[in-house]
C-alpha cells in the first residue's frame, strides 16, 4: 500500500471557482438567516460582488499556466479567457435575473409549490416578490461552469457538468407566468439532460478501458494520459472511438447541436427569459470550452478521425437551426433555433485545429453571448398584461410604438444575421477564416450558405417591426428599470464595439489560445 499523497493545490489560481461556490453556500445561509424583505437586495449584491471578485482574480492570474489539484484542473489561457467570458456574461444575466421593475416582483415565481393555473397561482403572479433562491442556484451554476472549462480530466468534467446542470434544471421551472410551460420545460430538460449525462459517463468508462489496455502505462482519464494513449497507435481503438463518440454526444447535447438539439426550443421557450439568456450565453461558453479542451487536448491526435463526423454534425446543426428558424412564430423559439445554428458555426471553429481557430471560437463565444443576452433582455420588455408577448405576430408594428427598443432589437438581429459592422460579422469571419486555412472548405461553404438562409427569419422580424402597422394587439414596451437597461446597454454596445473594432479582444483571445497539457 503506497502512502496517500495529497495533491498540491494552487489556491490562488482556482480562487474564482472557490469564490463562486463559497458565495453560493453563503447564499443558502442568507436564505435561512436574513429577513425576507432584505433577501433580494442582499442576494443580488452578494452574487454580483462575487462575480466581480472572481473576475478580478481571473484578470490577476491572467498569465497563469499551470495544472493544479493533481491532474484535475488546468488553469491556462483558454481556461482563463473562458472563465472571464462566463463571469462577464453571468454578471449581465444576473442583472436580468435581479430586475424587479419590468415585472412586479421579478420574473420568478413567488411560491413554486402552488399548483399551476390555480387561483392561488394567479394570486402569486399578481406581484408578490419572487423567490430569492434563484441567486444561490445561479451562483452554483456559474461555479460549475468555471470548473467545467478548467477540468483537466473527464471525471472532474462530469462532476462540473452536473454541478452546473442541476441548478439550471430548477431555474427553468421557476417562471412566474405560464408555469405549466415552464415546469414542462424543466422536466424535459432534466430528463434529457440526465439521459445525455449517462452517455457522457459511459464514454468516460470506455475511455478508461481504452487507456488501461495499453501495456506499460497507468490507466487514467486525465487528458495527458488520454493524449499519450491516443498517440501510441492504440491497441483497442474500438473502445477509443466508441468512447469518443459517447463523450461527444454528452457535450453536444449541452451545446445544442443537432441531432441532440431537440430540447432547446421547448426549454428556451418555457424557461423564465433571464434564465434562457443565461443558458444561451453561459452554457454555450461552458459547453464549447469543454468541447475544445476534450477534442483539442485529449484527442488532438485523432484529429483526422473525428473531424468528418463532427463536421457532419456541424453541417446538420447549421441546417436544422437555419431552416427551422424560418418557420418559427415565437420569438423565443426563433432565438432558440438561431442558437442551434450558432452552435453549428462554433463547431466549425472547434474543427479548425490552429491557434487562430481556437482564438476565433473563443471570440465568437463572447460576441454571441453579449448579443444573445441583449436579445433576451429586449424580449423581457415586450409585454402585455399576461406577461411577455412572445408570439411574433404581436411584434408587428413595434417600430412605431417604441422606435428606440425596436431599433436596438433590429441592431441585434442584424448582428445575428452577420451584417458587417456588427460582432456577428467579425466573429463569423474569425471562425471561417481559420477553418478555411485548416482545409475545412466544405464547412465554411455550408456555414456561409446557412447563414444566408438564417438572415431571412431575422430580417422578417425587422420588417414586421418597422413596416407593419401596429395592430390592436401590439403590446407596449415596458421602460426597463436600471438593471435590465444596464444589461441591454452592455450587450448592444459590446455587439457594436466588437463589430467595429474587434482587434483588442481578438488579440487577447489569440494571446490566450494555447492549452497546457
Amino acid at each position: 500500500m503506497t502512502e496517500l499523497k495529497l495533491p498540491s493545490i494552487d489556491y490562488a489560481a482556482i480562487s474564482p471557482i472557490l469564490i463562486m461556490l463559497g458565495t453560493a453556500l453563503l447564499g443558502v445561509l442568507v436564505e435561512a438567516l436574513v429577513p425576507r424583505r432584505w433577501r433580494h437586495v442582499v442576494q443580488l449584491t452578494l452574487a454580483l460582488l462575487a462575480v466581480l471578485a472572481a473576475l478580478t482574480m481571473v484578470v490577476l492570474s491572467a498569465d497563469e499556466r499551470i495544472i493544479t489539484a493533481g491532474q484535475a484542473l488546468a488553469i491556462d489561457g483558454p481556461t482563463l479567457f473562458l472563465q472571464g467570458a462566463i463571469l462577464v456574461l453571468a454578471a449581465m444575466a444576473l442583472l436580468l435575473i435581479g430586475d424587479r421593475s419590468v415585472e412586479r416582483g421579478g420574473a420568478f415565481v413567488a411560491q413554486a409549490a402552488v399548483t399551476a393555473e390555480s387561483a392561488d397561482d394567479r394570486r402569486q403572479a399578481e406581484g408578490r416578490n419572487g423567490l430569492t433562491e434563484v441567486y444561490p442556484l445561479t451562483t452554483f451554476a456559474i461555479g460549475g461552469m468555471l470548473i467545467f472549462v478548467a477540468a483537466n480530466d473527464l471525471l472532474t468534467m462530469f462532476i462540473a457538468l452536473e454541478v452546473f446542470s442541476l441548478p439550471l434544471y430548477l431555474l427553468c421551472a421557476l417562471a412566474r407566468r405560464r408555469r405549466l410551460l415552464s415546469q414542462e420545460a424543466a422536466m424535459k430538460y432534466f430528463l434529457l439532460g440526465a439521459y445525455a449525462s449517462a452517455f457522457f459517463l459511459f464514454g468516460v468508462a470506455l475511455i478508461y478501458g481504452f487507456t488501461s489496455g495499453i501495456p506499460g502505462r497507468t490507466a487514467g482519464v486525465d487528458f495527458a494520459t488520454i493524449h499519450a494513449a491516443v498517440g501510441e497507435s492504440p491497441a483497442s481503438p474500438v473502445l477509443l472511438f466508441a468512447g469518443m463518440a459517447l463523450l461527444a454526444i454528452g457535450l453536444l447535447f449541452k451545446a445544442a447541436a443537432a441531432p441532440f438539439h431537440v430540447w432547446t426550443p421547448d426549454v428556451y421557450q418555457g424557461a423564465p427569459t433571464p434564465v434562457t439568456g443565461f443558458m444561451a450565453a453561459c452554457t454555450k461558453v461552458a459547453a464549447f470550452g469543454a468541447l475544445l479542451r476534450v477534442f483539442q487536448v485529449a484527442f488532438a491526435d485523432a484529429n483526422w478521425d473525428f473531424t468528418p463526423v463532427l463536421g457532419a454534425v456541424a453541417v446538420l446543426t447549421m441546417l436544422v437551426g437555419a431552416v427551422l428558424a424560418v418557420t418559427q412564430t415565437d420569438i423565443k423559439r426563433l432565438l432558440a433555433y438561431s442558437s442551434i445554428a450558432n452552435a453549428g458555426y462554433l463547431l466549425v471553429g472547434v474543427l479548425a485545429p490552429s491557434r487562430d481557430g481556437l482564438a476565433g471560437t473563443m471570440f465568437y463565444l463572447v460576441a454571441y453571448g453579449f448579443s444573445v443576452l441583449a436579445a433576451f433582455a429586449v424580449v423581457t420588455l415586450v409585454r402585455d398584461e399576461d406577461g411577455e408577448a412572445t408570439h411574433l405576430s404581436r411584434w408587428a408594428g413595434l417600430g412605431r410604438r417604441s422606435p428606440f427598443f425596436a431599433a436596438l432589437f433590429t441592431f441585434i438581429l442584424l448582428a445575428f444575421a452577420g451584417i458587417p459592422l456588427t460582432s456577428g460579422f467579425t466573429s463569423k469571419f474569425a471562425i471561417f477564416g481559420p477553418a478555411l486555412e485548416g482545409g475545412q472548405a466544405w464547412l465554411v461553404i455550408a456555414g456561409v450558405l446557412t447563414s444566408m438562409v438564417l438572415a431571412f427569419p431575422y430580417l422578417r422580424v425587422v420588417v414586421m417591426m418597422w413596416l407593419s402597422e401596429p395592430g390592436e394587439s401590439t403590446p407596449t414596451v415596458t421602460v426597463p428599470g436600471g438593471l435590465t437597461a444596464a444589461a441591454l446597454t452592455i450587450g448592444v454596445l459590446a455587439t457594436l464595439v466588437l463589430g467595429v473594432a474587434p482587434a483588442p479582444l481578438l488579440d487577447l483571445a489569440t494571446g490566450a489560445a494555447e492549452f497546457v497539457r
Binding site: M187, V309, L324, G433, P434, A455, V463, A503
Partner: protein
C-alpha cells in the same frame, strides 16, 4: 499583370474621403432616431446630406486630378487582425471610385430632390429618406473600400437598404413578395461573393485590393477560375444578370425614386463595379472572360425579348436595365480597353435610365398611379416637359446619334466584333441584334405612352404635368442624356486608365468588320427597330393583352425563367423545410403515433403530437447517438476517412 499595384497614402484634403460615407450615414441615423419629431424637415436633411456629399466628391475629384499617382488610400483603423489575416478598415479613392462617387451622389441628389415632391403625400416620407440615405452611405462604402471585406460591407448594406425600400409599401402583398424575392436571389449571389472572399483569404492570405492583384499571378488557373466564377455569381445576383435576373423587374414594386436610384442608376451596377475592380483577376483567365461575355450577351438578349412583351411601364424599363447591364457585362468581359467602355456606358446609363424612371414616375403621378402602357396614349399634349425629357432618354438608350447611348453603346458593339475567333461574330451579332431589339421595345413604350389615341381609364379627365420639384431634376437628367455621352466617351477612358489594370494594354485585333461598317450597321438596326415599332403602334393598341404566338407568350412569362427557378430551387427548398419541420416536430415516435392516428381518424391526437413529447425527443437523441457512434466506428474502420 506584370506591373505591381501600389496605392499612395491619402494626404491633405483627400484625408477626408471618409466624410463621403459618414455624412449620409449620420443623416440616416438622425432621421431614424429622431422619429416623428423630424417629419417636417427630415426630407430636406436627406437632400442636403447628399448634396454635401456631391460637393465634397467633386472637390476630391479635382484634388485627385492634380496628383501624380491617381490612387490614394486612407487607412482608418485595423479592422480584423487574426493571425496572418489583416483586414484594414480603409478607403481607396482612385479614378474608378471617383467616377462612381460622382454618379452616386450626383444622380442621387437629383433623385432625392424629385422624391421630396413624389413622396409628399406619403406618411412615411421621413423614414423613406432615412433608408434612402442609408443606401447611399452603403453604396459609397462599396465603391470606396480598399479591400474586398469593405466591399462586402457595402454590398450587404445596399442589399439591406434595397430590401427595406422595395417592401416600403408593405400594405401591398406584392411589394412584400418582391422584397423577399429580391432578398433571396441576392443572397445566392452574396454567398458566392462571401465564399470568393474566403478563397482569397485561404489562397492569398489577404483581401486588400493591391495585395490580391499582385498575388493573382501566383495562383493556379483553376483557383483563379473558381474565384472569378464566385465573384461573377455575386455580381450577377446584384446586377440582375442571368441566371439571377428575375428579382429586378419585381423590385419595381418599390416607390419610383427607389427604382430610379437603386434599381437603375447605382446599386444594380455594383456587379459591373465588382468585375471592373477585380479586372486583374478576370484578365488572368480567358475562360473566365468568356463566361462573363456569355452571361452579358445572353442577358442582354433575354432582357430585350422580355421587355418587348411587357405592358407595365416600370417593368419594361426594368427589363431594359437588365439588358443594358448585359451590355456592361459584355464590355467588362471583353477585357482590355473595353473595361473603360463598360464604365462609360454605366455612367451614361445612370443618367438616361434615371431620367426615364423619373419620367415614368411623373406619368404615373399624373395618371393616378396607372402603370399599364396600354392605358396611356396621347400624353405628349398634356405633359410637355415629361414628354420631351423622356424623349431624350429614349433616344439615348436606343443609341441614336448624337445622344449619349450612341457614344457609349456603339464602342462596346465594336469591341465585341474585335474578338479573335469566330466568337466575334457570335457576340458582335448578339450586341447588334440587341441594339435593334432595344430600339423596338423602347419605341413601343414611348409611342404607346405619349402618342397615338388616348386609351385612359374612365376616371382620368385631364392629366396634369408634375410640379417643378419633379420636372427640374428631369430636365437636368435629360441634359445629361443628351450631352454626357460625347463628353464621357472622350474623357473618361483616359481618366480610367490610371486605375490599376484598367485600359492600358489593349490587344488590338482587327475587327472582323471595319469600324465604319459596324457604326452604320448599328445605326441601321436602330432605325429599323424604332421604325417598325412606330409603324406598328402609331395607332395605339388594344387595352388588354391579346392572344399571341409562342414567342410573345414565352416573353410575357419571362421566358419561363421563373418556372425554372420554382422547379429547381423553390420546390426542393419547400420540401426540405417540410421534411425537417416534420421530423423535428414529430420525431420518430410521432411518426408511429401519426400512423395510429391516421388509422383511428382522431385529428385531435395529431394536433397534440406537435407539442413534443420527451419520449420522442429521447428517441431522436438515441437515433442520433447511434448514428454518431456508427459514424465514429466507420471512420475508425476506414470507411469514411
Amino acid at each position: 499583370m506584370e506591373e505591381t499595384v501600389e496605392y499612395a497614402q491619402a494626404t491633405g484634403l483627400l484625408g477626408g474621403v471618409w466624410l463621403l460615407v459618414a455624412i449620409p450615414l449620420v443623416s440616416a441615423a438622425i432621421l431614424l432616431l429622431l422619429g416623428r419629431r423630424a417629419d417636417r424637415w427630415g426630407h430636406w436633411l436627406g437632400v442636403a446630406a447628399i448634396g454635401a456629399a456631391f460637393v465634397l466628391g467633386l472637390s476630391f475629384f479635382f484634388q485627385l486630378r492634380g496628383l501624380e499617382n491617381k490612387s490614394v488610400e486612407l487607412s482608418l483603423w485595423d479592422f480584423i487582425a487574426v493571425g496572418d489575416l489583416r483586414v484594414d478598415f480603409g478607403l481607396l479613392f482612385d479614378p474608378l471610385a471617383a467616377v462612381f462617387v460622382l454618379l452616386i451622389t450626383g444622380v442621387g441628389f437629383l433623385i432625392h430632390l424629385y422624391a421630396v415632391e413624389y413622396m409628399s403625400h406619403d406618411a412615411g416620407r421621413r423614414r423613406f429618406f432615412a433608408y434612402f440615405n442609408l443606401f447611399v452611405a452603403a453604396m459609397l462604402l462599396l465603391v470606396l473600400g480598399n479591400n474586398y471585406v469593405m466591399l462586402y460591407f457595402g454590398w450587404e448594406g445596399v442589399g439591406l437598404a434595397s430590401y427595406l425600400l422595395i417592401s416600403f409599401w408593405t400594405e401591398r402583398p406584392s411589394a412584400a413578395t418582391a422584397g423577399k424575392k429580391a432578398f433571396l436571389m441576392n443572397r445566392v449571389g452574396d454567398a458566392g461573393l462571401a465564399i470568393g472572399i474566403f478563397i482569397m483569404f485561404a489562397t492569398l492570405g489577404t483581401t486588400q485590393y493591391d495585395e490580391v492583384f499582385n498575388g493573382v499571378g501566383a495562383l493556379t488557373g483553376t483557383t483563379v477560375l473558381v474565384l472569378g466564377l464566385l465573384l461573377l455569381l455575386g455580381a450577377a445576383g446584384k446586377s440582375g444578370q442571368f441566371p439571377l435576373q428575375a428579382w429586378l423587374p419585381d423590385a419595381m414594386e418599390g416607390p419610383t425614386p427607389v427604382s430610379a436610384l437603386i434599381h437603375a442608376a447605382t446599386m444594380v451596377t455594383a456587379g459591373v463595379y465588382l468585375i471592373a475592380r477585380s479586372n486583374p483577376i478576370f484578365s488572368a483567365n480567358s475562360t473566365l472572360q468568356l463566361v462573363v461575355v456569355s452571361v452579358g450577351a445572353l442577358t442582354l438578349l433575354i432582357g430585350c425579348i422580355i421587355g418587348a412583351a411587357k405592358d407595365d411601364i416600370k417593368r419594361v424599363l426594368a427589363w431594359s436595365t437588365v439588358s443594358q447591364i448585359g451590355y456592361m457585362f459584355l464590355g467588362v468581359g471583353l477585357g482590355g480597353a473595353a473595361y473603360a467602355l463598360a464604365i462609360v456606358h454605366l455612367l451614361a446609363h445612370g443618367f438616361f435610365k434615371a431620367n426615364m424612371f423619373l419620367g415614368a414616375g411623373s406619368v404615373m403621378h399624373g395618371m393616378k398611379d396607372q402603370v399599364d402602357i396600354r392605358r396611356f396614349g396621347g400624353l405628349s399634349k398634356y405633359m410637355k416637359i415629361t414628354w420631351l425629357t423622356f424623349m431624350m432618354g429614349w433616344l439615348a438608350i436606343i443609341g441614336m446619334f448624337p445622344f449619349s447611348g450612341f457614344f457609349s453603346k456603339e464602342p462596346i458593339i465594336v469591341a465585341a466584333f474585335e474578338r479573335e475567333d469566330w466568337t466575334a461574330w457570335l457576340f458582335g451579332g448578339a450586341a447588334l441584334l440587341g441594339a435593334g431589339l432595344t430600339a423596338f421595345y423602347m419605341t413601343r413604350l414611348f409611342v404607346l405612352t405619349f402618342h397615338g389615341p388616348k386609351r385612359w381609364t374612365e376616371d382620368i379627365e385631364h392629366p396634369h404635368e408634375s410640379p417643378k420639384l419633379m420636372t427640374i431634376p428631369l430636365i437636368l437628367l435629360a441634359v445629361g442624356s443628351v450631352g454626357a455621352g460625347f463628353l464621357l466617351a472622350t474623357s473618361v477612358p483616359d481618366w480610367l486608365t490610371e486605375t490599376a489594370g484598367l485600359g492600358g494594354e489593349h490587344a488590338e485585333h482587327a475587327a472582323v468588320l471595319s469600324h465604319t461598317v459596324i457604326t452604320i450597321l448599328s445605326l441601321l438596326v436602330t432605325v429599323l427597330g424604332a421604325g417598325l415599332a412606330w409603324f406598328l403602334f402609331r395607332a395605339g393598341t388594344a387595352t388588354a393583352p391579346q392572344p399571341a404566338g409562342v414567342l410573345v407568350t414565352a416573353a410575357r412569362r419571362n421566358l419561363y425563367t421563373d418556372t425554372v427557378n420554382e422547379a429547381v430551387f423553390e420546390k426542393p427548398g419547400i420540401f426540405l423545410t417540410r421534411a425537417l419541420v416534420y421530423l423535428d416536430n414529430r420525431g420518430i415516435d410521432g411518426l408511429v403515433n401519426g400512423l395510429a392516428a391516421a388509422v383511428g381518424g382522431g385529428s385531435g391526437r395529431l394536433r397534440r403530437m406537435q407539442t413534443g413529447f420527451v419520449r420522442s425527443y429521447a428517441t431522436s437523441i438515441l437515433a442520433g447517438a447511434l448514428l454518431v457512434m456508427a459514424a465514429f466506428l466507420a471512420v475508425q474502420a476506414g470507411w469514411l476517412a
